[in-house]
């Protein structure tokens, strides 16, 4: 066991971990931040995406010890200071971009990373960027639409209410 320390959602966090403890396990089990989910064991589904030093990372593909000293942001850190939904979160609600909610934290974190890299992505660029995030509920229609809306694009021409 060894000590690991990092900043998570702006607060310092530390704990005892095994060398094999994954970052997602540290977030969920040690810190109780259960918004970050585990949907697979091969790094494919993206339910565990968080930001580490500003970059989107699959937290099941990184040891907790590797995040020593890092700035980590999880879905719990995405709301506004007053508790209201952030821009991307609000767009997901407005456009029904989630159903069961299990992939949603990873989708929100990937969408945030995309929009920080590319503030005005095309539909094709969004679909390509989400290659590493699997959703089984929505058929992706409203996720893509929500991200376009979060980028400030007019989505009224896209079919459906």
């Amino acid at each position: 066991m060894s000590q690991v320390s990092m900043t998570v959602n702006g607060k310092s966090a530390s704990g005892e971990v095994e060398g094999r403890t994954l970052l997602v396990e540290f977030l969920r089990e040690n810190l109780g931040l259960t918004g970050t989910h585990v949907g697979c064991d091969t790094g494919q589904c993206g339910a565990c995406v968080v930001h580490v030093d500003g970059k989107a990372v699959k937290s099941c593909n990184m040891f907790a010890a590797e995040a020593e000293g890092a700035e980590v942001t999880t879905v719990e850190g995405m709301a506004n200071d007053d508790g209201s939904l952030g821009t991307i979160q609000q767009a997901f609600q407005d456009h029904h971009g989630l159903q069961c909610g299990f992939c949603t934290p990873g989708m929100v974190m990937s969408a945030a990373a995309l929009l920080s890299e590319n503030p005005n992505p095309s539909e094709a660029e969004i679909r390509d960027y989400l290659e590493g995030n699997i959703c089984r509920c929505t058929g992706y229609h409203n996720i893509v639409k929500a991200i376009m809306a979060a980028a400030g694009q007019d989505v009224s021409h896209i079919a459906a209410e």
């Binding site: 095994e18 339910a47 069961c100 909610g101 299990f102 509920c137 229609h141 996720i143």
Partner: protein, 787 residues
């Protein structure tokens, strides 16, 4: 669009806030004091005799608390099956035992053999690696027809063969069907495979068992679509725990698609072990485990004949299907290829003679059960593929051939024992032709061809039976349960309402749409109504959510309970207003005396019910809470017409979905935003089946597609934006909301649409391809093009 957020409003979902902020409460988020963890050691061979299990090396390893084997479950009941099908000779199906942990034999890769309980997951996994299991591997039966051959290895020694049942439906139709086919002007025949799929909800299954010795109470937290059904099956048939000592909680559940209906061995294990060890025991499935332990879907091999007369009227359908049950019978498995498939073989068409034969087969594979659509996609795929093939053989337009044979008068009794109450297949096809821009296809094809691509157009119609189902009917067909549902409407003193419903929401948005109904009925703000679901200790009863039944069945119970609330509240209001209750009207949350300006508000009446000072106490009890159980009179019959345009790259065989349009008739709609989302999701899964997904075993029963590295899930760049429309509405005639259900339509209607489009594209390129089995991967399409 209503401004008040009632029926018909596209209200944003209230449950989204907790999911978007990481505040959901999924089963794996639940951790109890003193919790231990279980890891299951599973069979790595498909079939074998267990000679010995040696746990001695693991017993003293760090953190190990107890190791369970099949011997610990010798006196415990097996996992039960909820449906008994009677075969065409009137005999019951063959029904094998399904132990919680393997007893003497393993029958599929993933069959649990040993359960190691330790202080941590890591310790349990480490200890499991030290356990030695000596298995004599036996030949595995994987292919269904080989499994039925004389001398085939038996999956279950105590059964007479690998045949679960040989079912004929309707047996009395068979002679007329054979005669109609023999006398037909044209017969189109198609052999096809509806491949095995894995449901793959993004949340893997989890179970946490808890036990309080002082009052002998067990609690199971589990990823379930129907906690009451789990309580019934596990309590009564497996562990012998009466309902009042067993609570089952299904909190936020991350998708189900059928795979979380069933009672699984891991649930029984965690509940059993918590009692045996007097501490909580938790199991969290890995995705790899999910691939070898979640019930899988589809897996039908079919030959269908469609007979037509000289005027292209359908005269008969005859179909023979082999349906894979896997190694054991999962909860609903026997009814999927029979009563959820055979009864839908009329489709949208007035075919007078239909006969369905289904042979259900045991193999050394993971059990198969209902997956989104469940039997109805298999029926639709056959009907709509063979119609398309017939249209090509006859040189007629596939839309015109469908239109010519549509059922147009309702109610309509099919030759396969169901009665469609309502529908308008002409209207949905008209709408489809509009939203799919059929007229513009020729120009789009020319544009694709100019880029060297083949473009195809495919169309499809579907009918499904939802809102399962009248209890007496399904009982006569072999169901071992009733399929009603229940709701309690609890009005609080200040007028807010909690509605306890038997339906379970795991993505369907019940917490938003159900209050819209109650609020509409009472004329109050939907924010005053909350839904409580997923906990047997809080809700009266419920058969759960599957088969697009939540609103049609449980929603109807909620309406009935609310009607009782209104009737009682009117009596209270009549007393307060010194009028007759027959004269009381409820509108916009106000009770008024007809023809006068006298009224009392909703909150005045609810307060009076709980503070009954000025109250008709001799006639009316205090309080305001009502329960209703609703048993549907019939299935509901959503229907629709779908169209797809694909591009095929002739160099690679790669198929791209360019356009997809869906025109559905779901009857009345409560929340159109949610309905759109349900259709989108179904389309995504159906396109996944058509192009990508395949659960494949090798000849030894090893799963070749055991992770997302190998099982191709549809991703964002595999699908387009969809054009969906549900403005064609023929309300259901027998439930109070006139609703039909929308959860499965997309997954039912889309696979044949895509395949029809790809065949059209290939034919347009001069390739004489009449069928390709799904998934239409680049290699399969390319090989088909090579002739």
């Amino acid at each position: 669009m209503p401004a008040d957020g009632g029926i018909g409003a596209p209200t944003p979902r209230r449950e989204d806030v907790r999911f978007l902020t990481g505040s959901g409460n999924y089963t794996d988020d639940i951790n109890l004091n003193g919790q231990a963890y279980v890891h299951f050691l599973r069979s790595d061979v498909a079939h074998g005799t267990i000679n010995n299990v040696d746990t001695s090396s693991a017993d003293g390893m760090p953190g190990v608390l107890r190791i369970f084997t099949g011997a610990d479950f010798a006196e415990v009941g097996g996992i039960p099956c909820g449906w008994q099908v009677t075969d065409k000779h009137g005999e019951p199906m063959q029904e094998p035992a399904h132990p919680v942990l393997a007893q003497g034999k393993v029958r599929h890769v993933g069959d649990p053999i040993v359960a190691v309980v330790a202080e941590t997951y890591e310790q349990a996994r480490d200890a499991a690696e030290a356990i030695e299991v000596d298995i004599d591997e036996l030949p595995a039966v994987i292919d269904m027809k080989a499994a039925l051959a004389d001398g085939a290895t038996k999956v279950h020694d105590d059964l007479s063969s690998n045949l679960c049942y040989d079912w004929g439906f309707v047996e009395d139709n068979k002679g007329a069907v054979d005669e109609a086919i023999a006398n037909a002007a044209h017969v189109t025949t198609l052999e096809l495979v509806n491949q095995r799929l894995v449901a793959n909800p993004m949340e893997p299954r989890v179970a946490v068992g808890d036990y309080h010795r002082a009052n002998d109470e067990s609690t199971l937290y589990t990823t379930s679509q129907n906690p009451h059904v789990i309580r019934l099956l596990m309590g009564a048939f497996v562990l012998g725990i009466p309902e009042h000592k067993l609570r089952v909680v299904a909190p936020d559940v991350g998708g189900g698609f059928g795979s979380k209906i069933y009672h699984y061995a891991e649930e029984a294990f965690c509940t059993f072990a918590a009692r045996a060890m007097n501490r909580p025991v938790k199991w969290t499935s890995s995705r790899s485990e999910a691939f070898i332990s979640d019930a899988q879907g589809r897996d039908h091999v079919t030959k269908i004949d469609l007979a037509l007369d000289a005027d292209n009227n359908f005269t008969a359908i005859r179909t023979e299907t082999y349906a894979n049950m896997g190694a054991y019978l999962s909860t609903f498995a026997p009814c999927v290829p029979t009563y959820l498939h055979g009864t839908l073989m009329a489709g949208n068409y007035k075919t007078p003679n239909i006969y369905v034969n289904v042979k259900a087969v045991f193999t050394n594979t993971v059990p198969v059960d209902a997956y989104r659509g469940a039997g109805r996609p298999e029926a639709t795929y056959q009907i709509e593929r063979v119609i398309d093939k017939a249209a090509r053989e006859l040189g007629v337009d596939p839309i015109a051939l469908r239109r010519q044979n549509f059922i147009t008068e309702f109610p309509y009794a099919t030759p396969v024992a169901v009665e469609y109450d309502t529908g308008d297949y002409v209207a949905t096809m008209d709408k489809l032709e509009e939203i799919a821009d059929v007229a513009g296809f020729a120009a789009r094809r020319a544009e694709s061809e100019a880029r060297g691509k083949l473009r195809g157009f495919g169309v499809n119609c579907y009918i499904e039976a939802c809102g399962i189902a009248p209890s007496a009917l399904v009982g006569a067909l072999g169901a071992r349960a009733g399929l009603y549902d229940a709701a309690t409407v609890r009005v609080n003193a200040t007028g807010s309402i909690s509605v306890m419903v038997g339906a379970h929401s795991h993505g369907q948005g019940h917490e938003t749409s159900f209050p819209q109904v109650v609020a509409e009925m009472l004329g109050i703000d939907p924010a005053m109504v909350d839904i409580v679901h997923g906990d047997t200790s809080k809700i009266p009863f419920g058969m759960g959510t599957y088969g697009s039944r939540s609103l049609a069945v449980c929603g109807s119970a909620m309406v009935r309970a609310t009607e009782k609330i209104i009737a009682k509240a009117k009596k209270i209001a009549a007393h307060l207003l010194e009028a007759s209750d027959a004269d009381i009207e409820l509108k916009d949350g106000q009770f008024s005396v007809a023809g006068t300006d006298k009224s009392v508000a909703w909150g005045d009446v609810t307060l009076a019910a709980y503070v009954p000072h000025n109250y008709p106490i001799e006639d009316v009890e205090p309080g305001l809470e009502e329960t209703a159980f609703y048993d549907p009179a019939n299935f509901t019959y959503p229907s629709g017409a779908y169209a797809c345009e694909v591009e095929v790259d002739p160099e690679t065989g790669k198929v791209t979905i360019e356009r997809f349009a869906a025109a559905d008739d779901f009857g009345n709609i409560i929340n159109p935003m949610i309905v759109d989302g349900q259709v989108h999701g179904g389309l995504g899964q159906g396109i996944g089946q058509a192009l990508l997904e395949n659960c494949a075993y090798d000849d030894n029963g090893q799963l070749l597609t055991g992770s997302y590295m190998d099982y191709a899930m549809p991703r964002a760049d595999d699908v387009p934006f969809y054009a969906v429309d549900h403005s064609c509405q023929t309300p259901c005639t027998h439930n109070p909301l006139g609703v039909k259900g929308c959860g499965e339509a997309g997954a039912i209607g889309s696979p044949p649409t895509v395949v029809n489009a790809v065949v059209d594209a290939l034919q347009s390129g001069g390739h004489n391809v009449t069928h390709i089995d799904m998934p239409l991967s680049p290699s399969r399409v390319w090989q088909a093009m090579q002739g």
